[in-house]
Symmetry: C2
C-alpha cells in the first residue's frame, strides 16, 4: 500500500489530523511538518539504510509526534522508549535495541545519563537544523517494521516487540469494524505514544484519515474541559483515568459527538461501569497487548452493558482459542500478531504453539454466548491446597468494599497449602482485619480469602502504570523473614 501519510495528504488534505493545546494541523499541514522533520533528521543522521533503528525518547507533544512519523517516512524504525523508565532500564533497552541514534526531548535529556555509545540528537538540535529535501518512502510494505516498543514487563524483563505495518493495519481495521467509524472521528489520546495504546491511535489516524486530540499529561479536569470544547468522538482510557474522569463529570455532559470510551489496560470494577451507564457514557472494554498491536478482543457498544466484566469477543481479523476448557490459557491467531521480539526471537517462538497460535500467558474462559472473561495471568495464578486461585477474582470482590481504593493479591509460599493469597490494599485508614475477613467469606470460597491484608500508602506500579506484582512479592518476602 501507498505510504499512509502521503495518501492522507492526498485524499484528506483539509481534514484535521492533529490537535494539541498549541497547534491544529490538517493532514496537508501535518505532512508538510513531518517531511520537514524528516529532512532535518536526514541532515543530522545522514542517509541510512531502510529499517535502521532510531531510538526515540519523547513526550506526548507535537514534536514527539512528528519525530515518530518522520522516521517512518524515511523508512527508519522508531524504537520507542518510555521516559518513566529508570536509567538502568533505559540502558538495558538501548543495549538490546542497538539504535543508530537516540532522539531525545530536551527536558528528558538532562535526566538521561545512559552509558551506551549512541549518537544523541536533542529535539532542539533537530528543530534548528536545516532540512534537506527528502523523498518519502513510496509504500508502507506489509512486512516492514513500523515500530518497536518494549512490553511493560509486569513479570520478567521487558521485550522489544517488532510491529509491522501489516500489524497496525489489521489492528485498525478490526477496531473500526467493531466500534464503527465516524466520518469525523476525533480520538482523544491521553495515553503515551511510546505505548501501543497511544501509538495505535496515531496509526489509526494515518489509516482512517482521522483526527487526534493529543494530551500531554492526563488531568481529569483538563480532559473534561476538552471533552466539552472539542467534538471528540472516542477516547482511550485505563480504569484509573475513567474513575478520575467520572469524579469530575460535568452536569452538561460532553459534546454530543462523544461516542464512548475504549477501555484497556486491565479490568474495571462493576461500580465504575454502573456509574457510566447511569451517565449514559458508553464504555467498550477491550483486551490486547503490545504483541498484538493493541486490542484483539473487545465488547461493542450494543453489548457493553449486558456483559459487565467480559472483555468481549475476538475482533474480525482475530481468532481466539483456549488451551484447555472451560478455563485455560488464551491463544491468538491473526495478522495483528507482531513479527517477534527484538532481543529474544527464541523467547517469542517459545510463545508460539506448533500450529501457529500465540500463547498470551493469560488465563480466560468463554461464557455460553462466546464472551471472553479474563481470569488472570498464568504466572500470577496461585495454587492453594490444589485449587487454582486468580488474584483478579479476589481483587474484583474487594473493590466492592467501599473504602478500598486499590487492592492487589499475590500468592505467597506456605508450608501447609503450597501457596496462600495475601492482599495489599490502600485506603485512607487501615481497615479492621475481621471486617475484611468476613467480607471475603461472604463473597468467596474460604480458600480464596487472603490470609494477610497489608495496608500500604499506594501500590507499586510499573512505568506503564500497571501494578508491579514482583515488587509486592519482594515486600511479602521481607515481611515473612
Amino acid at each position: 500500500m501507498q505510504n499512509w501519510l502521503i495518501k492522507q495528504s492526498q485524499i484528506n488534505p483539509d481534514k484535521i489530523a492533529l490537535i494539541t493545546t498549541a497547534e491544529q494541523w490538517t493532514f496537508a499541514q501535518l505532512t508538510e511538518k513531518v517531511l520537514q522533520t524528516a529532512g532535518q533528521l536526514t541532515t543530522l543522521l545522514g542517509e541510512l539504510p531502510r529499517q535502521t533503528r532510531i531510538a526515540v525518547l519523547v513526550k506526548n507533544d507535537s514534536t514527539g509526534y512528528l519525530v515518530i512519523l518522520a522516521l517512518q517516512q524515511l523508512g527508519l524504525v522508531p524504537l520507542l522508549l518510555n521516559w518513566r523508565l529508570s536509567r538502568i532500564e533505559l540502558q538495558r533497552q538501548l543495549k538490546i535495541g542497538q539504535p543508530r541514534a537516540l532522539i531525545v526531548d530536551d527536558n528528558l535529556a538532562t535526566q538521561l545519563k545512559v552509558d551506551v555509545k549512541v549518537k544523541l540528537i536533542s529535539l532542539k538540535q533537530m528543530t534548528t537544523s536545516k532540512a534537506q529535501t527528502i523523498v518519502p518512502v513510496p509504500e508502507f510494505l506489509p512486512d516492514q517494521l513500523a515500530s518497536i516498543m518494549f512490553t511493560s514487563g509486569t513479570t520478567g524483563q521487558p521485550h522489544g516487540v517488532k510491529q509491522t505495518f501489516q500489524n497496525h493495519f489489521y489492528s485498525a481495521v478490526g477496531s473500526a469494524f467493531n466500534l464503527g467509524l465516524d466520518t469525523n472521528e476525533l480520538w482523544l489520546c491521553a495515553l503515551p505514544i511510546f505505548h501501543i495504546s497511544g501509538l495505535s491511535i496515531m496509526m489509526r489516524s494515518l489509516i482512517y484519515g482521522m483526527g487526534i486530540l493529543l494530551v500531554q499529561h492526563f488531568s481529569a479536569v483538563e480532559v473534561t474541559q476538552q471533552l466539552q470544547d472539542y467534538p471528540v468522538t472516542l477516547m482511550s482510557v485505563v480504569p484509573q483515568m475513567l474513575q478520575r474522569l467520572l469524579k469530575v463529570y460535568p452536569a452538561k455532559g460532553y459534546q454530543q459527538h462523544f461516542r464512548g470510551f475504549l477501555l484497556g489496560g486491565g479490568p474495571i470494577d462493576a461500580a465504575t461501569l454502573k456509574t457510566c451507564q447511569q451517565k449514559n457514557l458508553p464504555v467498550v472494554q477491550s483486551y490486547g497487548m503490545t504483541e498484538t498491536c493493541s486490542q484483539v478482543v473487545a465488547l461493542n457498544f450494543t453489548e457493553a452493558e449486558r456483559h459487565l466484566g467480559s472483555v468481549g469477543k475476538p475482533l474480525f481479523p482475530i481468532q481466539v482459542r483456549l488451551a484447555a476448557k472451560p478455563i485455560g490459557e488464551i491463544q491468538l491467531k491473526g495478522p495483528n500478531l507482531a513479527a517477534g521480539y527484538l532481543d529474544d526471537s527464541h523467547g517469542f517462538s517459545q510463545k508460539m504453539t506448533a500450529d501457529g497460535w500465540f500463547k498470551t500467558g493469560d488465563i480466560g474462559r468463554f461464557d455460553q454466548t462466546g464472551f471472553l472473561y479474563i481470569c488472570g495471568r498464568k504466572d500470577e495464578m496461585l495454587i492453594s491446597g490444589g485449587e487454582n486461585i486468580f488474584p483478579q477474582e479476589i481483587e474484583a470482590v474487594y473493590q466492592q468494599f467501599s473504602s478500598i481504593q486499590e487492592i492487589a493479591v499475590i500468592g505467597v509460599n506456605d508450608e501447609k497449602w503450597g501457596q496462600v493469597p495475601w492482599a495489599f490494599y490502600s485506603t485512607q485508614k487501615p481497615i479492621n482485619y475481621q471486617l475484611l475477613l468476613s467480607f471475603g467469606r461472604q463473597h468467596l470460597a474460604h480458600y480464596k480469602v487472603p490470609q494477610q491484608f497489608i495496608w500500604v500508602d499506594h501500590l507499586p506500579r510499573t512505568a506503564s502504570h500497571k501494578i508491579s506484582r514482583s515488587k509486592l512479592r519482594e515486600l511479602a518476602k521481607k515481611m515473612k523473614s
Copy 2:
C-alpha cells in the same frame, strides 16, 4: 482469516443480517440456513475439490443469496450468471466457465435451454433435498476465489473475472474508510447480486457484520416505501434508479438513519445532483469495475457537493495514475485488483503494465486538488480532424436539453474528418434538428457537435443495463449503407 460468515455468527449472532419482503434473519439464523443449504448442495453435488466452479443463475431473493454463501462455505466458487442474458450469451459463458453444475432458479429454468453438458440443479430440487451435515471451510484464504463474474461487455465479449477473498476484503475496507461505518449499518441492495455492485454489498455484510435489505426488482415506489419503513443507512444506485427515486421522493423524507446513496455505473447529470442537494440527500459518486471488485475511486460525504461531476479520489488501498498528463488512460494498483480472467489470462496480462498497474481502458484527468474526472472509454473516444472527442462530454451537454430522456454518442467513419460524432436520443417526440444543432454549438466546440441526431424509441442496453454502443454502431452502419 477465519471464515467470515462463521465469524459473524460468533461475534454478531443477534445482529440483523438479511431482510427481504418475506424474511428477516440474524447472522445466527442466516448461518444456520446457509449451512443447511450447503448440506443440501453436498447431497446433490457430492464432495467436490476446493475451488471447483459451480454456475449460479438466481434472482435477488433469499434463496439465491443462500446459494452463493453456501458455495463459499464448501470452498466452491460461485460462477455468477446474469439472468438477463440471451441463451447464446449464457451458453458462451458456461463454455468458458466449465462449471461442474449449474444451480438455477425454477422460474429461470424454463427459459433456459443451454446446449452445454452441465448438471442442472433447480432451487426446488435443492430446497427439498435432505441436508448432509457439512464442515464449513475454517478459513477464507486471501488468494482463493470467492466469486467469478463476467464483465458487462459494453465493448467486446464479456470476460470472466476471478475475484479473491482478498479482493473483496480490501474493497470493503476502502469503502468503510471512505463512507465511515455505522454500527447499525443497513444497506439497501436493489442491484443484482450476480454483479459486483450487488455482490460487494453481500461481502461487506460478511466483513462488517452489516445488515442488508435485499430488493428483488427495483421499483421506485416500493423502495421509497422501504426507505420510510426500515432504518436503511445506505443504498447503492445507478443514475437511472436515483432519477426515478427522486420523482417519488416523499414529503416526509426517508428514515432519519439514512446516510446517503452510493452512486456507480456511470456519470450523473448535474440537475439530478442538484435536486439531491436541495432535498438534503447525500450522493457519493464512485468509479469501479468488476476487475477491481467494486469502487476504487469515490467522493466522500463532505466533498460530494463541492466536486460535481468528479468521481472523487482513490480509496485508501488503491493507487491511481494516468498514462499521460493532463489527460490519459487511468491505471490502478492495489489489493482490490482481481486475480485475472478465467477465459483469457493473456487478455488480462495485456491490460497490465510492465510495472504492475492495471490499464482500465478509461480516460481520465485530475483537477488541481486531486479529484478524478472520467472523460470516457478509450475505445469509445473518436478522433475527428485530429481532435480527441469523448462521447460522454457531448452526452452530458445534451442531457441538459430538457426534453431529452437519454442520449448516446458514437464515432462514425467519415472520409473527410476520419470520424465524426453521431447522436442517438430518445424523447417523447423527435426534436427539430436545427434546435439540437444550435444548442450544441452554444455549449461545445463545433467539431464536437454531432453531425446526425437519430431519434430512437429507447437506447439499446446490455444485460447489465449499460448502453450498448456496439449495437448503436451496427445501427449507424445500416443507416449509412
